[in-house]
C-alpha cells in the first residue's frame, strides 16, 4: 500500500525530555523527536521498517520523519513526540480556547525517499514562510 491514514497523537517521552535538556541543537534531541511511532501492522502495509522515512501530511502541513516500530500501538494510531517536526502538521486553530489540537488529528502517511529535515532546515522554513 502506498498510503495509510492514521490518527496522530503527540506527546512527551522521557528521551525527548533528556534530549531537550542537553540542548535542542544536539544529536540526542534530533534523535528523540524526529520520528513517528507506527504499529507493526501499519508499517507493514506501508512497506516500511524501523528507520525508514515517511512523509506525514495533515490538512495543516507535512514533514518527513523516520519510522519507529511500536509493539504497543494499535493499527490506525501513530505517536509523534512533541517538537518542531510534529508542529509542521498541527494547525493553529484553537476553537476560541487558546489550545490547538495536538492529539487525535487525522494524517496520511506515505513512504518517502527524502531526508528528514534538520532543525536548521525547519527554522529556515519558519523564517521564509509567509
Amino acid at each position: 500500500m502506498e498510503k495509510i491514514t492514521v490518527t496522530l497523537i503527540s506527546g512527551r517521552t522521557s528521551r525527548q525530555g533528556v534530549g531537550l535538556e542537553v540542548g535542542k541543537t544536539s544529536e540526542e534531541y534530533f534523535e528523540s523527536v524526529s520520528y513517528i511511532e507506527l504499529s507493526a501492522g501499519d508499517a507493514e502495509s506501508l512497506g516500511v521498517g524501523d528507520g525508514d522515512h515517511v512523509k506525514v501530511e495533515t490538512a495543516h502541513g507535512s514533514v518527513v520523519v523516520s519510522v519507529k516500530l511500536s509493539d504497543k500501538l494499535e493499527p490506525g494510531t501513530s505517536f509523534f513526540p512533541y517538537g518542531i517536526w510534529a508542529n509542521q502538521v498541527f494547525g493553529s486553530e484553537t476553537g476560541g480556547t487558546g489550545m490547538p489540537q495536538f492529539k487525535g488529528v487525522e494524517a496520511e502517511v506515505t513512504p518517502s525517499g527524502a531526508g528528514v529535515p534538520s532543525l536548521a532546515d525547519l527554522v529556515a522554513t519558519l523564517k521564509g514562510g509567509s
Partner: protein, 429 residues
C-alpha cells in the same frame, strides 16, 4: 567538593525536593536521586549554552541588547510577553509588569498545556488535594490521558503508586491503579486496569461514568468501552476510601479540550457525595503552576492577559499566544524561558520571524535562531534561587548550586533592566 542536599529539581511539575547535588569548583559532578531528565538537566546545564547576547545575529553587549529589546517593546502597539513557565516567580512577576507597562499581552505556556484545565475550573470548579493526601490516603488512583513515566518520572514512586502513606501503609498493594488512554503506555503496564478509550471519546466516557455514579445503569458501550466496565468502575470509585484522578494532556489537547476537564471535574465532584475524591492536573513545566499563580495574584487572571487598555482583560482564544501569532497581531515579542518556535504549530510560530522577537534563553533553540535579540541568562534552580510552584499548587525554594555559567545574569535581572529602560522610554515619549 560540596554537597547540596534537599535540592529542588527544576524540570517538571513534581518538583522533587530531595536531590543531592555534588559540586566541585563550579562544576556539577553528581545528581543523586535525580531522574533521567533531571540528571540530564543538571549534568548538561553547561552544554550548548549561548555565551553572548546578539542583536540581529551580531554579538552585542548586554546593555546594547537590553536597549534594542526595550526600544522594540516600548514602541510596539501590540507587544507579546510569552513563556514564563520554566523560570522562577520573581522573573514571572516582572513579565507581568512588562506587559502592563507596555500595554501588551502576557501569556504563559499553560495556554498550550493546562489552559483548558483552568477554563474548566472557571466553569465548574475543581476538587483537589496536595500530593501528600494522595500518598497518605488514596486507595484508588486513576491516570487519565497521562503517562508519568514519560514526563513525570518519579511521580509513581514519590506520590501516587508505590509510596507508603499514613493510611496506605502497604504502598502499592494498598492501591488500585486505573489507566484510561487511547493507547497503551508504560502507565498501562503498571496499572491494575487499563481502559482503552476511542480517540476523542473521553468526554462521553466521563459523562457516562458520572451518570453511572449517580445511579443510572449504563447499558451500551461508550467510546469503545463496554457498559459493564463503566458500571463496574463507577462502583469501584464510589467504594474507594479516597480516590484521585491524575489527568494529563490526553484530555486537554484532544477534541473537547476544556470540556473534557469540565466533565472530569463533574465526575469527581459527584463522587464526593459518596466518598472522598479529588483530581490533579499533571503540570509539565516545573513552574507553569507558578506562572499561573503569580499572574493571577498580580492581575486577577492566570494567562492570556491583555493590558492594552491599561487594565487587565482575559480571554484565551483571543489573547493567547497561538491565536495572536496565527492572526499576525504582535508587532514585537519577548520570549522568556520557552521555545514557541518549536512548540507552536508552524503557521503560528512563523510570525515570530517577521517581528522583532527578543528571547531570554540559556541554550540555542529554534526560537533563539529566529530572534532579533537573544540574551543569555542563568538557569533558575541551578544557578539562580527563586520560587517555584508544584503541580498541586504548593511552592518550594529553588537552590543555587553553582555560579551562573559565563557570568550571565538571571531572567529577573535582565527583565529588571528591560523594565527600567521601557519605563524611561515611555516617560520620554
Amino acid at each position: 567538593m560540596a554537597v547540596f542536599t534537599d535540592v529542588v529539581c527544576p524540570f517538571c511539575g513534581c518538583l522533587c525536593d530531595d536531590l543531592e547535588i555534588t559540586v566541585k569548583g563550579n562544576e556539577i559532578k553528581g545528581a543523586k536521586n535525580a531522574c533521567a531528565i533531571s540528571r540530564s538537566k543538571f549534568m548538561s546545564h553547561r552544554e550548548n549554552r549561548i555565551m553572548t547576547p546578539t542583536v540581529k545575529g551580531k554579538e552585542a553587549s548586554l546593555e546594547e541588547a537590553v536597549e534594542a529589546a526595550a526600544k522594540a517593546l516600548a514602541s510596539a502597539k501590540r507587544p507579546l510577553v510569552y513563556g514564563l513557565s520554566s523560570t522562577e516567580c520573581g522573573a514571572i512577576a516582572r513579565c507581568v509588569e512588562l506587559a502592563e507597562i507596555t500595554g501588551g499581552v502576557v501569556d504563559n505556556t499553560s495556554s498550550v498545556c493546562h489552559g483548558p484545565t483552568i477554563l474548566a475550573l472557571q466553569q465548574v470548579g475543581e476538587s483537589k488535594a496536595s500530593l501528600g493526601e494522595v500518598k497518605n490516603r488514596a486507595d484508588l488512583v486513576a491516570f487519565w490521558g497521562s503517562n508519568p513515566p514519560a514526563a513525570h518520572i518519579r511521580h509513581f514512586a514519590r506520590y501516587s503508586v508505590t509510596p507508603k502513606g499514613l493510611y496506605v501503609p502497604e504502598g502499592r498493594k494498598g492501591r488500585y491503579v486505573v489507566n484510561v488512554d487511547v493507547r497503551e503506555t508504560p502507565t498501562s503496564r503498571v496499572a491494575d486496569q487499563f481502559i482503552k478509550v476511542d480517540h476523542g471519546g473521553d468526554f462521553e466516557l466521563l459523562l457516562a461514568l458520572r451518570a453511572a455514579v449517580r445511579g443510572t445503569e449504563i447499558t451500551e458501550d461508550v467510546s469503545g468501552v463496554p457498559a459493564e466496565e463503566i458500571n463496574a468502575l463507577a462502583k469501584r470509585m464510589k467504594e474507594a476510601k479516597m480516590g484521585i484522578v491524575f489527568f494529563g494532556l490526553g484530555l486537554t489537547q484532544s477534541d473537547g479540550r476544556h470540556m473534557n476537564i469540565d466533565a472530569a471535574v463533574g465526575l469527581v465532584a459527584e463522587l464526593n457525595h459518596h466518598t472522598k475524591f479529588v483530581l490533579t492536573p499533571m503540570r509539565g513545566h516545573y513552574n507553569v503552576a507558578g506562572a499561573n499563580t503569580v499572574t493571577t495574584w498580580q492581575s486577577g487572571y492566570p494567562y492570556a492577559v491583555d493590558f492594552a487598555r491599561g487594565y487587565p482583560r482575559y480571554n484565551p482564544g483571543e489573547y493567547s499566544a497561538v491565536d495572536m501569532l496565527a492572526k499576525g497581531e504582535p508587532d514585537a515579542a519577548i520570549i522568556v524561558a520557552s521555545d514557541p518556535a518549536a512548540t507552536f504549530p508552524a503557521d503560528a510560530a512563523k510570525h515570530l520571524a517577521r517581528i522583532p522577537t527578543i528571547t531570554l534563553e540559556q541554550k540555542v533553540t529554534p526560537t533563539t535562531m529566529l530572534s532579533e535579540v537573544v540574551i543569555p541568562v542563568a538557569t533558575a534552580g541551578i544557578e539562580v534561587e527563586g520560587t517555584a510552584y508544584r503541580m498541586d499548587g504548593f511552592s518550594l525554594r529553588l537552590s543555587k548550586v553553582v555560579e551562573p555559567h559565563g557570568g550571565v545574569k538571571s531572567d529577573r535581572e535582565v527583565l529588571d533592566m528591560i523594565v527600567e529602560r521601557v519605563k524611561a522610554l515611555k516617560e520620554d515619549a
